[in-house]
């Protein structure tokens, strides 16, 4: 793997390219924006948030100057509320639901306000969450991503002794290693990790189950175990040339960017990114920011089918990415040295039929092969499930798609001592979904071990008052 700095632009320019795309609100902006909020009752933003943060409440606390209280409302419903403030797809969640959209065409900037409040407590070093009195029980959590951190937070609040096992050097999971650098730096996820640690949660990094501690030890040391292991490696292309130099896995590429050691990050002149999901967008936009001259997004279907969010697609468009729709890679071709990728051989596809759900399928067009000269290929095809690893756990059941089967209310798996949540259960969704799963799992674990039902903020869609018939 090449580690030379190949970028045609200088490091200062790269640093500028990676500035945050959503800068923090100034105090004046926060005052203005928080007062613009209508303060809906039974608010649509709160319903739309997977963790059901009481959005009007935290915004009005910003307006009243109670930033500590505002951050408490956020973190009580979502322990990773600072990351979510930056990486949530707010357009399709809270802000999309904001009735302001209908009133004045511009929703309240909920994400940025959430950042304003959570930044304030981190800056001031104010702890807004408290650990419960120790109850003598111990929980092991595998994975320190959004689901694991969330679950650990609620369990610590209930008085459990919690230990998180993380195989990476830093805790935080995808929030630490997988988010586009212009959306969020590692500092934010590390502040959240530190907040969890201050609740007394023990976080053992560089600790892999099966290598540093065995599954049976894990099971015997804890009263219950939460699996927040996420997903595995990026799916393979299964085409010739995948092993060549210059071919990267999107998540590895993104993870290297998180170091901000620009000179050590490989970058080609012409970069082909294969896939059209949100990770593929993160790869193309960051490849451009690192100085690639041409960045191509290669996808066998069209923009109608692309899984990336609309606003993510817009980001890629703004970065002058070339979109090669209805193009499927068939081979990565080596250059004269025989070891480095020099071209991507592709084939054209055509839409053939539409299934009952309105989805079109695409087939390759015989004889339409062509080659694009590239010097870097990034695979962004989605992640595989950790089926083999998960099946080591006795009695655990997976669904047909390889996802851990759980009771959706308690997140308890088929093995009653194991609970699970996040990507390994939902197949790969947002950090905020994982945070909610961690919350539900903590409630489930507590019910399982104590028989007591607790309900944390935002555990359910807020009370929906009944509609009624009116006699006229």
């Amino acid at each position: 793997m090449s580690t030379t700095h190949d970028s045609p632009i200088n490091l200062a320019q790269i640093e500028r390219n990676f500035r945050e795309i959503a800068p923090p609100l100034t105090e004046a902006e926060a005052i203005m924006e928080s007062h613009r909020c209508v303060y809906c009752y039974d608010a649509p933003c709160t319903r739309a948030c997977p963790t059901h943060i009481d959005v009007p409440a935290f915004i009005k606390k910003i307006a009243s100057g109670n930033l500590t209280g505002s951050a408490r409302v956020i973190f009580e419903a979502n322990p990773i509320g600072a990351s979510c403030a930056r990486v949530c797809p707010v357009d399709v969640l809270c802000e999309g639901a904001c009735v302001e959209k209908t009133l004045m065409a511009k929703p309240i900037e909920i994400g940025r306000l959430q950042r304003y409040a959570t930044d304030a407590v981190f800056t001031r070093g104010r702890d807004v969450l408290k650990a419960g009195a120790p109850n003598g029980k111990s929980i092991g959590i595998v994975g320190s991503g959004p689901a694991g951190l969330s679950c650990a937070t609620y369990l610590a609040r209930l008085g459990y002794a919690v230990r998180i096992y993380e195989r990476k050097p830093l805790a935080g999971g995808m929030d630490t290693y997988g988010m586009a650098e212009y959306k969020m730096t590692q500092r934010v996820s590390q502040e959240e990790v530190a907040q969890v640690a201050r609740l007394g949660v023990e976080i053992k990094t560089n600790t892999e189950i099966g290598r540093d501690i065995q599954l049976d030890e894990l099971e015997s040391q804890h009263d219950a175990v939460f699996l927040g292991v996420g997903l595995g490696a990026t799916s393979r292309l299964n085409i010739p040339g995948e092993q060549l130099e210059g071919v990267y896995d999107a998540l590895d590429f993104i993870e290297r960017i998180k170091t901000r050691d620009w000179a050590s990050i490989p970058i080609g002149r012409t970069v082909a990114v294969i896939g059209a999901g949100n990770t593929a967008i993160d790869a193309v936009t960051q490849a451009r920011r690192l100085g690639a001259k041409r960045v191509l997004m290669i996808y066998r279907r069209t923009d109608r089918e692309m899984p990336a969010y609309e606003y993510e697609y817009e980001l890629a468009k703004r970065d002058a990415v070339e979109f090669w729709w209805q193009t499927a890679p068939v081979e990565i071709v080596a250059g004269a040295d025989g070891t480095r990728a020099a071209a991507l051989r592709c084939v054209r596809t055509e839409a053939v039929e539409t299934d009952d759900a309105g989805r079109r399928s695409f087939r390759t067009i015989a004889g339409s092969e062509f080659e694009i000269p590239v010097d870097m290929v990034i695979k962004a095809l989605g992640q595989q499930k950790m089926v083999d690893w998960l099946l080591q756990i006795a009695k655990l059941k997976l669904d047909a798609a390889g996802r851990v089967a759980v009771n959706p209310e308690t997140m308890q798996t088929a093995n009653p001592k194991f609970f699970a949540g996040g990507d390994c259960v939902n197949g790969g969704r947002e950090a905020v979904d994982a945070a909610q799963a961690g919350k539900l799992a903590a409630q489930g674990i507590h019910l399982h071990l104590s028989g007591e039902r607790v309900e944390f903020a935002g555990a359910r869609v807020p009370l929906h008052e009944e509609t009624s018939e009116i006699k006229h």
Binding site: A28, I31, M32, S34, H35, V38, Y39, C40, Y41, D42, A43, P44, A63, V99, T102, L103, H464, E465, E466, T467, S468, E469, I470, K471, H472
Partner: protein, 422 residues
């Protein structure tokens, strides 16, 4: 374009917009710039014996990004010498003969003192004097300002003194720091006042600094109550203006003061009986330039409504103000929500639920949940209409046909045992 000229107790003014006696009229150069900006008149910052001010002097009440909804001050009358002020007044009047230049006065409660200053002002060529019987801070502790205005006998007496000494129109500026504005208003008229102006500022403590625990404005760790003005006081001023406007004994022109910042505010004061309006806080906030839209907006309003002169609207709403006992108990309105416009913020629901009569439940329309008014339960209080953020979404609809009006007075005359409506 409608005629904006007014004649106020004999004082001609190109428009009804005057600057109130306050910092914006502190000196000749300021008043001249104001006249250049379009102000029709100005009441010069109060003349009197030299004083010494404190630092700091102002504090405000804000609503989020909206600054200075209310302003308070503990500044006193002019801190410049009488000679300099009189000289500048004379020059200003000579340069701006067509503008209204009124001089605010406040001296100790001695007949000779009032005689002396009134004569000196008349000699400058100014158009009138305004007796400051309203300043609620500092000067009142020395037996001046509000100390005069709060005792109708004093108000009458000092007005008589000034009338003895000058032929200029005398305006008496009243304090709102009284339980009933009518007795001081009548006292001014009995004393010979040619007009009254109101309101002066209201006694106020603006707030407390939560870090130092010292109320605002902080003067070396201590605070004193000051005079409150700005948009927040407008309803109080409108009430007092309309009270005097509908009092038969107060048959002199009124200059309305209190929270006026736009032509709309001004029009409301005119409709409730003011002939001119005086502005201070809005100018302190945004500068003399605001008068341009006040003139433009009032003029367009008059044109739109078919009035040829601003004089045509003065007092038009006064007959619409009455006592509660004369209101029609049978008038019935209910709220209606336009679900095409409703954004489902549900503020009407929660306001009605917790602050009114629990008559806005939810209903399902085309799969969406909307608040809806139960008209049998609705008392027509207006609360939902007031909280709704969408213009035109909630309207108050009249249900009675107006054929059987009934007032509480009529009801209790007919059935003396009835003290409340059914």
């Amino acid at each position: 374009m409608a005629d904006l000229k007014v004649n106020f107790a004999g004082i001609e003014s190109p428009n009804p917009f005057w600057l109130a006696s306050a910092p914006p009229t502190n000196m000749g150069s300021m008043v001249e710039r104001a006249f250049d900006a379009g102000w029709g008149g100005a009441v010069w910052k109060t003349l009197g014996e030299p004083i010494r001010n404190v630092c700091s002097r102002l504090a405000s009440i804000d609503q989020g990004p909206q600054r200075m909804l209310g302003l308070n001050n503990i500044e006193l009358i002019t801190d410049r010498s009488l000679e300099v002020n009189l000289k500048e007044i004379r020059e200003c009047k000579r340069k701006y003969p067509k503008h209204a230049l009124i001089i605010s006065l406040m001296v100790e409660s001695k007949r000779e003192a009032w005689h002396e200053i009134a004569k000196q002002v008349e000699d400058t060529g100014a158009d009138g004097v305004e007796l400051n019987f309203g300043c609620p801070h500092g000067m009142s502790e020395r037996g001046m300002g509000a100390a005069m205005g709060q005792v109708p006998e004093y108000t009458c007496m000092v007005t008589e003194w000034v009338k003895e000494a000058t032929r200029l129109p005398v305006i008496v500026k009243l304090t709102p720091n009284v339980t009933n504005i009518t007795p001081p208003g009548r006292a001014a008229v009995r004393g010979g006042a040619d007009a009254v102006s109101l309101i002066n500022t209201i006694n106020s403590v603006m707030g407390v600094d939560l870090d130092t625990l010292v109320p605002y404005p902080n003067v070396n760790g201590m605070a004193a109550h000051g005079g409150y003005c700005g948009p927040a006081v407008k309803p109080i001023a409108l009430n007092m203006v309309s009270e005097l406007a509908r009092d038969a004994e107060v048959n002199v022109p009124i200059s309305g003061i209190g929270g006026i910042g736009t032509w709309r505010d001004a029009a409301e004061f005119l409709l409730l009986g003011a002939t001119t309006v005086q502005v201070c806080t809005a100018v302190m906030h945004y500068g003399y330039r605001i008068v341009e839209d006040m003139i433009d907006g009032l003029s367009n309003y008059l044109d739109d409504k078919g009035f040829h002169s601003v004089n045509d609207i003065i007092g038009l709403s006064v007959p619409r103000v009455t006592d509660w006992g004369n209101l029609d108990l049978n008038y019935k309105t209910v709220a209606r929500i336009d679900h095409q416009k409703c954004i489902q913020c549900n503020l009407c629901h929660i306001a009605c639920e917790d602050g009114a009569h629990q008559c806005i439940p939810f209903t399902e329309i085309d799969g969406k949940r909307f608040p809806i008014v139960d008209e049998h339960e609705c008392v027509g209080c207006n609360l939902c209409y007031l909280v709704c953020p969408v213009p035109g979404c909630i309207s108050m609809v009249r249900l009675d046909d107006g054929s059987r009006p009934l007032t509480w007075r009529e009801l209790t005359t007919r059935e003396p045992e009835t003290m409340t409506a059914d």
